[in-house]
């Protein structure tokens, strides 16, 4: 079954379909929660919370707004950040968005147009100056505000804003329109 069929089954409260969806995306979601939390147990628990949220709120997914994988990734990232804040742990966010220690997960994108967007996004990240990647990574995986990033890096807030604006503009352009 493809994502669309699985989602239709989940809307009919088919638990086996939900488990299949979990198996399809478990590695992707675990990768994101682990990247944020840097803790295996917490990342697994958070991943399960993400999929239970999907089970509870599957009606909120609107296929017209984009691929299921990107919707799911957004939920995972936000729930992991919430959990990071609850544990009051110091963020140990990596300073980069891509790394060589694992393959990117965009093969989960079933639509070729979505894959093209992801490839284009990846290519743009590789072109970005390291200091711009750094502020995005601290915000995306560390959940830091711009003020917190400025304090963390010991640079002026204005510099963080400038780097972030520039990077976000390029990334948004690279991703393109849905």
């Amino acid at each position: 079954m493809d994502d669309r069929q699985l989602i239709a089954e989940i809307k009919r409260r088919n638990q086996e379909a939900m488990v299949q969806l979990y198996q399809r995306y478990a590695n992707l979601i675990y990768s994101i929660t682990y990247r944020v939390l840097n803790d295996e147990g917490g990342a697994e628990e958070c991943s399960q919370d993400v999929f239970l949220r999907v089970w509870q709120r599957i009606d909120q997914y609107d296929a017209a707004r984009g691929a299921f994988a990107t919707w799911l990734s957004g939920i995972a990232r936000n729930m992991a950040i919430d959990r990071l804040r609850q544990t009051a742990r110091q963020a140990t966010a990596p300073y980069d968005l891509l790394s060589d220690d694992g393959r990117p997960a965009f093969e989960f994108l079933q639509d070729w147009a979505d894959r093209d967007r992801a490839q284009s996004l990846r290519a743009m990240i590789e072109k970005l100056p390291a200091d711009q990647v750094q502020v995005i990574a601290l915000s995306y995986y560390g959940g830091m505000t711009q003020s917190e990033i400025a304090a963390h890096l010991g640079i002026p807030l204005g510099t963080v804003k400038t780097r972030m604006r520039s990077a976000l503009q390029k990334l948004r352009d690279a991703w393109g329109q849905e």
Binding site: Q15, N27, R35, S73, R77, I81, A105
Partner: protein, 228 residues
């Protein structure tokens, strides 16, 4: 705020890095501006795409099975509250007599002998329950094939005075309690339906046990069919 400030705020909103006050401001803006809504959607989509670029790790072994158990617990129908019925005196008397009779039977029955028989049976099915997250201790469920007779053996940290460990039989159709543990005493258990396979879960519950689990299982195992 100029356009650039608005764009910054909406990006920060999508990244969930605003204070409650700032969030409220952005939400007010979103409520009245379709342009702001479109901008938010484009940031959310791009950040979702960023997630798919995260270098991959493999989910831990057994994670799917643990998720299946949590999903079953989540999806199980809650027990319907029973309506209070008038309680005739003769039923109360009969119930009292029955309780006395059952009490005498329990006192006279060699339950500990049953436990020894189950544990000593070379054909008994033995299931180790696996600790979840930071849980410590060991739990084993032993059951006789072709019967519904089982024993739960546990070596767990002492719970708080107002809590007890409780065993659950979990299937896609629902969850049934298998009883609560008293200290480190073996728990004699009746398997609800020996022709079915169950996910076994242990949760910490308020003393006396709960009708349905109120927390995430801290130990999980799979009991195969005992018959059929």
């Amino acid at each position: 705020m100029n356009d650039q400030d608005i764009s910054d705020r909406i990006a920060a909103y999508a990244l969930n890095t605003l204070s409650a006050e700032e969030r409220a401001e952005v939400e007010a803006l979103l409520a009245r501006s379709t342009e702001a809504q479109a901008l938010l959607r484009s940031y959310e989509a791009m950040f979702g795409g960023l997630g798919t670029l995260t270098p991959q790790r493999s989910a831990p072994q057994g994670a799917a099975e643990r998720f299946r158990a949590r999903l079953a617990a989540e999806a199980a129908p809650l027990p319907r509250p029973k309506r209070a019925q008038p309680f005739p005196v003769w039923i109360a008397l009969a119930a009292a007599l029955l309780i006395i009779a059952v009490g005498l039977m329990v006192l006279l029955s060699p339950q500990t002998d049953d436990i020894v028989v189950i544990l000593g049976d070379p054909n008994a099915v033995r299931v180790e329950l696996m600790p979840q997250g930071a849980a410590t201790g060991t739990i084993r469920f032993v059951a006789l094939p072709n019967t519904n007779q089982g024993v739960l053996l546990a070596d767990l940290p002492t719970p708080a005075a107002d809590q007890q460990y409780q065993l659950w039989f979990i299937t896609a159709e629902g969850i049934r309690s298998g009883g609560v543990l008293e200290g480190d005493q073996p728990l004699r258990v009746s398997v609800p339906d020996p022709s079915m396979s169950y996910t076994l879960g242990i949760t910490l519950e308020p003393r006396g046990g709960s009708q349905q689990p109120t927390s995430t299982p801290i130990f999980i195992g799979t009991l195969p069919r005992l018959q059929g």
